[in-house]
């Protein structure tokens, strides 16, 4: 099945493991991308993903608009991540998310990337602010989330996502790693008159 899942298919998935696995295959990367940015290790992100799949399984016959399944999964994943953050904070008596997350956790591991240019881009991504990094991660999700869905997840105005994306990419382009690696090929030069 290549097109959007319909209500009939979701109902089938509630009683057929193969159909459910097909949904998982379609959206696995999107759920993974949606748990990015909370400072969790891969094990925790995997736990979150498992709960999201369980919740989906429990909700298959009650999802009103199957065309919005991607957004439902992304939002549910983010909510579960926030719940984990709050639970950890409650037990460790911290005041901010940064106190809970492990700063040594590298959600984006540049070292495992083989291509030199892509690896440098990953290094540069790890150097920009966390909000930009999370936005670009969500924008990179497969299948793609709409700007509206991302805005809802990030509690941002829908119209701000496009400009925010451009701004984050400009920040990235200004990083020395990017200049050194691809500045020439991307023609990262000042416009005339600036």
């Amino acid at each position: 099945m290549d097109g959007p899942f319909d209500a009939e298919f979701l109902e089938l998935a509630s009683r057929d493991d193969d159909a459910f696995a097909e949904i998982k295959r379609r959206f696995q990367k999107l759920v993974w991308a949606s748990s990015y940015g909370f400072g969790f290790d891969r094990h925790t992100r995997d736990d979150v993903a498992q709960l999201v799949w369980l919740k989906l399984f429990q909700s298959l016959t009650s999802i009103r608009d199957p065309s919005r399944l991607a957004g439902w999964l992304a939002t549910t994943t983010r909510r579960e991540c926030i719940r984990v953050v709050k639970a950890r904070a409650r037990f460790t008596m911290v005041e901010s998310f940064e106190d809970v997350s492990d700063p040594t956790t590298k959600e984006l591991d540049a070292a495992i990337i083989k291509d030199d240019t892509v690896r440098l881009v990953a290094q540069a991504l790890n150097s920009i602010d966390a909000e930009c990094r999370q936005l670009l991660r969500l924008l990179s999700a497969e299948p793609a989330l709409t700007y509206g869905e991302i805005a809802e997840m990030l509690k941002a105005a829908p119209g701000s996502i496009g400009p925010w994306r451009q701004r984050c990419l400009r920040k990235l382009a200004a990083r020395p790693e990017i200049r050194a690696a691809i500045g020439g090929s991307l023609r990262l030069t000042k416009r005339s008159g600036e």
């Binding site: 990367k29 495992i112 990262l188």
Partner: protein, 167 residues
Amino acid sequence: MNSDDSFPDLDFDDAPDGEAHDDEELDALFALVQRAFAEGDPSPSADDRGISYVRWLAPDADLGVMFEVELAGVRDDSDDSDDVEFVGVHVRVAASLSPYRIVGEVSPWTGGTVQLEHEHGTLDVDVDDDGSLYIASPPAGPLRLRVQSAAGELVTEWFAVSPGRSS
């Protein structure tokens, strides 16, 4: 990063270094960003985890995966209980755990049996018509709940109620 689920207001007029790039350049950079995330933050390979994984872990019942939660109206803030939720495919158990008591709720509850399994045996747990349960002075050591109802069977992860338990 913030502690809540919203982002701060952003000032898009604050260009990083006064440099501007056209959309084509930024789109080309974004293509590399997509590759960086795909290769540097790969999702776990597609496998049979998920519902099948849960069933495999507990072949005679779905495994309730434990998560820390807030149980409004259940938790007594003056005690040292931990609020958790065990989520299975068909049944959930929300519970407040402390060395002195376990207060919980099974949902959906359509009648059946709940047992508390511990190192030395099994205790039958009374459940009222609403699915609420109460266990006074639970045994020390590893514990888990087994629910058998018309909605499905669920066995929770092992947990402990002694102070300082890991979550």
